[in-house]
Symmetry: C2
Subunit: 223 residues, 2 copies
């Protein structure tokens, strides 16, 4: 087992090396990079569809859609108007790594872009260990998943900067306590910025769009 | 990377060796073993709570609750009347393996039991690779997760025998097409037995209980 741990360490340090290169490129081009993580079905693709519909005309977005199998998400993003969409099929792997993202970014001119959204594989565990060169991880849960999820999957919440609670239109149909969910998340990571929204009904999305614009402006302003 | 793959193979074959020992013990004691897998928040613990409430008086259940962090699930199962509840905290690992289960089963007299439910870590990817000595994997999704999940996480559906669609009380509040979800699952694995139910409202649970009783009887009848 020691040998296994040693090799895992090597894999992670090689990943960190590649992630640092990606981060440097993003900085040079003043492009925001967001690594969007959640369980399967929390609404990562839906959020990106909405974001495209609302901001595609004024923001130049690159969308990288990771999946174990199928290009379903990439197809949805193209249909929603995504101009630069790169699918990554991991073929079984439970997370994206920096090498996959680095390849997906090849031949994209980042100087023409404002923001890169990396939609990770649906998995609340493994993607927490892999730096993809992002500015931040944004973790999402939905109101149908249980308000104790931050406590049960703490690593992901510890390593994220932002916490989205989606499907607030379904509040009241389950035992989910939204304040409790937020409290639990803040217990793990007191610095989390939080959004409450419904991709289906549109509630709360304006604040999300406003924040995305703010991130882009802030990055462009770096001297 | 070759070295990594080689060591992964070794880890898996050691896992298979331990899983075979667990399977043999379960057979000797004529105990059914179910490995319950899903994303976080699909309702694994809720299903076990309901199953305890309905069948605790006539079935002797052992409950193994795997989580990355916290004993929340184990606590819920104890509160629901679980008599033999063993939490496994993986401390970061994204799946249960046979060694963890084997340790959890230590000191439990399986001859006094009818069924062992192993509630895996909430993760639709990694637990598919680990045999825990179970009779079958039961994979669950909920109606709020999207009907394409079987296509996107095919390994889990290929390696499961039974497919539960939970939260049917929320049908109509999202774009989830339940027939499509079942069709998608059957495309991956034509032999899947399917249940449609709502742990919250109770719909469909009687068929589940009946099937559990049937499994127990069938196992006891092995000569």
């Amino acid at each position: 087992m020691e040998k296994k741990i040693e090799i895992e360490k090597k894999v992670l340090s090689e990943n960190d090396r590649l992630a640092a290169i990606i981060r440097e490129k993003m900085l040079e081009s003043r492009v925001v990079a967001i690594n969007l993580v959640s369980s399967p079905g929390s609404g990562k693709t839906s959020l990106l569809e909405k974001t495209l519909a609302a901001m595609n005309s004024d923001l130049r977005m690159v969308l990288i859609a990771g999946d174990v199998q199928t290009e379903n998400d990439a197809d949805r993003l193209r249909q929603a108007g995504g101009k630069i969409v790169r699918p990554i099929i991991t073929g079984g792997a439970c997370h994206l790594d920096a090498k996959m993202v680095s390849r997906a970014l090849d031949k994209i001119d980042l100087n023409g872009a404002d923001i890169v959204f990396i939609e990770n594989v649906g998995n609340l565990v493994c993607p927490s260990s892999f730096d993809l060169g992002e500015d931040m991880k944004v973790v999402m849960i939905s109101t149908t998943e249980g308000d104790d999820k931050p406590l049960k999957y703490p690593a992901m919440f510890r390593r994220s900067s932002t916490f989205i609670i989606n499907k607030i239109d379904l509040l009241g149909f389950s035992n989910f306590d939204i304040d409790k969910a937020e409290e639990n998340a803040l217990t793990i990571n007191g610095n989390l910025k939080t959004f409450r929204l419904s991709c289906l009904k549109g509630e709360g999305l304006d604040l999300w769009y406003q924040w995305i614009r703010h991130l882009v402006m802030e990055k462009k302003a770096i001297k």
